[in-house]
Symmetry: C2
């Protein structure tokens, strides 16, 4: 697991450089210093104020919200437009310097850790919202625009962008990591909601994956480059614009909480709700440990039993239908009466509590570290995998409250452990591997939404097989022959 | 346009071979003969009965339903399982022989035309429906399974597969060409509905794009190979299995026909219906020429004015809501009362008429040839492009009834012309280019669903630009360095 890898010394990094050399990828000088004339070239492009080699700035950019230890880049640059990104990339290309794109740093698999040193492109100064087409339900944004900033901007238009991974991530970062989250069961993930990307390739050239300015709802014009770059975690290029599908804000929204006598009852209800074709907007599972943690952290009073947080979107009439059908199912599985959150304030409170599950879990053991696992299985396998995982946690005396987007078959164990206790770290490490392999054995994936990053490279190989991984490596090699784009991630 | 290209002589083919050589792709011998010992190797794999070099069999496999002239392969092979496909591919790889995968031959851009000779793999004998998971709404099918065969098989399960391009195409062929059609506005295209693919690569190796047997609803495990192969038109590999999302058959379905005083009124209604977020299942536009042709061909009596064919899916209650809201919109645009098709037989009759639009158009000028154009634009651009296109057809005295999946911004002119009249052929050629460029100028695509094939390679370059095309070429080169997989298509 990550936590082990991240403790590797500079020496280990050199070993990894060696491996890349075997792949015929030339690598950045191991000394980790950017020559001063190169720094001058960067300054000539973005100005003095937008180049930093300061220790604390570099440290801020060398890690995300995961357990992967900080590996700072050698410099941080703040380009302000695509032309600057392109020019900086050309300089890096000439001098063989790795590039790590950086948005809000809210990733969970170490995607921004500077494994081979190099420069970090902090893209938050590129924060324009461009070309809102209300009548076509699409908008184009630069990498500095976050999910909530876009939705604030859209508020008066009656439109919104529903993909919601919890964190207030940059939308281009969400495209790069194929983010999803609580609304994906109804509105899809970034894969279904990105219409076009502007990407700077490793040689500084700029492409538009669907052609410049294009925003047709569907196309069959050549290879689907858009979805090749969505989820490529910065390893194929730097996303500098994304064109997104938007949706009308639903006429009516209601949220509800339902408690269950057992995990099986909650998960069975989820499966049945989906099988009945109820177009539920969110269906989030929290196990007893998780709801207890949320109660304490967010000052709530829900019963400490397996729980579903639900949300329904639609017209008054269709909502009534959805709710009635859902209640029938939950009751038949022994679920409680619904506890309602009808107005915006109540709903916000509910979903804030859900999104704060991570911090609530951490608060269970103050001073400890957290690691959010992430697996996804076909929905019919959910009861089995959740039950087995609960037993596994218990058997190995680990703290890992379970929360998840069960409507997609996706869930997380929010592992909380004492990183100074190497024996416990080892137990967490083995548990997360077992969990991922349990998902693989049930036709699932080792990551539904957090990505591969640093932590899941071995599991990726197990998931897609040797020939599948070989194809990914070939694509990486042909688009980034010098292995400059976020090296050491995915492949 | 296709019709011109397709008349090119063997000499032109050699020119094209030459071009490929410049791209460092080795090519099949220009003499177009497969050595007898190679044919013997094929026979050793699939048996004598599954290898044919007969003229008529080859001719049947050298064209699709488009205007592209037949270019027969040098042999046709019928593998019966993925192992045979792999073994045959290895033989072709050793002997540098192009491979063209063939499903039902219902493509519309010349995707199966054997530009460089080679062998056709007719995949229809691989016709097993595998691993139906009713509880997870997914199924895996071999390439010989067509859309209607799958839906017949599913009938008693209460499930269906909605993507419906009209033709009874092979589902793996639909994946290869990124097909969509009438239901895409609600259920998405093949891109959104393929969960996994088994693909034989040019060296005979077999990959599963999402890992063998995997069928999680979402994944962020590495590059999205599934959507790289969806729409790759056989140029990156041979799809030998596809795992598809299924849907519950809607509780209630009703179809309706609505006539409008003008194109603008019909298209404005479409745009407003979508903008109101009505989850309409089908919304098909037919212009006056098209509805007249359909009336004649399918013995119907609809008013000869611009028309929408609509379909609503849902519960009784939600249907009523959808219909009421839609009627309000159509009436405010001067639309007629709805003419209803409520029972299955009536609905079948209606949609059969829509799907027979192609034959209805051809029947307008018996003995003439047809070419279905295909463009897609953001929905707000629809009124403008349809109006301009109608004027263009009129100005150049061309027969081109318009029909389209306007809910996606996608429509076709079904061009009917005398292929012996070279001046008319030229006018059609110029018109279709103008139409595609009109779509490009309005932020759209030169092909919403028919693909690039042979006919739109130049337009693809205009659409995605030089750097975009270069990326596609690189991917092609690295996955198929000998240019054996359906050469001459897309890139």
């Amino acid at each position: 697991m990550a936590v082990m890898l991240s403790r590797s010394s500079r020496q280990l990094c050199n070993v990894s450089l060696c491996t890349f050399a075997l792949h015929k990828w030339r690598c950045y000088s191991a000394q980790g210093q950017i020559p001063s004339q190169v720094l001058d070239s960067f300054r000539a492009v973005v100005g003095n104020d937008n180049v930093s080699t300061g220790t604390s700035v570099r440290a801020q950019h060398g890690r995300d919200e995961s357990v992967h230890s900080c590996r700072p880049p050698d410099a941080v640059l703040w380009p302000k437009c695509v032309e600057e990104v392109s020019e900086l990339t050309r300089i890096c290309h000439r001098h063989n310097i790795p590039i790590i794109p950086f948005g809000t740093g809210t990733g969970l698999e170490g995607g921004v850790v500077a494994m081979n040193g190099g420069v970090c492109f902090d893209l938050l100064k590129m924060d324009k919202i461009l070309n809102l087409h209300e009548e076509d339900f699409d908008v184009t944004v630069e990498p500095g625009v976050t999910r909530t900033a876009l939705n604030r901007y859209l508020r008066d238009s009656g439109l919104w962008f529903p993909v919601d991974p919890g964190a207030d991530a940059s939308l281009c970062g969400m495209a790069a990591t194929s983010a999803s989250g609580t609304n994906a069961v109804r509105y899809g993930t970034m894969r279904e909601n990105v219409l076009n990307l502007e990407v700077v390739l490793s040689d500084g050239s700029v492409i538009h994956t669907a052609g410049k300015g294009r925003r047709a709802r569907k196309t069959s014009a050549g290879y689907n480059l858009t979805n090749l770059f969505v989820g490529s975690e910065g390893t194929l290029g730097i996303i500098t614009k994304t064109t997104l599908r938007l949706y009308g804000i639903p006429e009516t929204i209601v949220s509800a909480v339902c408690s269950f006598p057992s995990v099986q009852a909650a998960v069975d209800s989820t499966v049945q709700i989906l099988q009945c074709g109820i177009p539920i907007a969110r269906i989030e599972f929290l196990d007893d440990v998780m709801i207890d943690a949320c109660n304490r952290y967010s000052k709530l009073t829900y019963p400490v039993t397996p729980t579903l947080f639900l949300e329904f979107h639609g017209s008054e009439c269709s909502l009534e239908e959805q709710v009635t059908a859902t209640e029938e199912i939950t009751k038949s599985n022994g679920g409680s009466e619904f506890s309602w959150a009808r107005d915006q304030e109540m709903r916000n409170q509910l979903w804030k509590a859900r999104h704060n599950a991570w911090y609530a879990a951490l608060a269970l053991r103050p001073g400890c570290q957290g690691y959010a696992t992430d697996v996804c299985v076909p929905i019919s396998k959910l009861p089995q995998i959740v039950m087995e995982t609960k037993k596994d946690l218990e058997k190995h005396t680990l703290t890992g409250p379970i929360a998840g987007h069960v409507g997609d078959g996706n869930f997380h164990c929010l592992m909380v452990f004492n990183s100074a206790d190497l024996e416990e770290v080892q137990r967490v490490h083995e548990f997360t591997k077992r969990l991922a392999r349990r998902a693989l054995a049930l036709d699932g994936t080792c990551t539904g939404e957090h990505g591969v990053g640093l932590g899941k490279k071995q599991l990726l190989q197990e998931e897609v097989g040797h020939t599948g991984l070989k194809v990914m490596e070939k694509i990486k090699t042909v688009l980034d022959p010098q292995n400059l784009m976020n090296p050491g991630k995915i492949v």
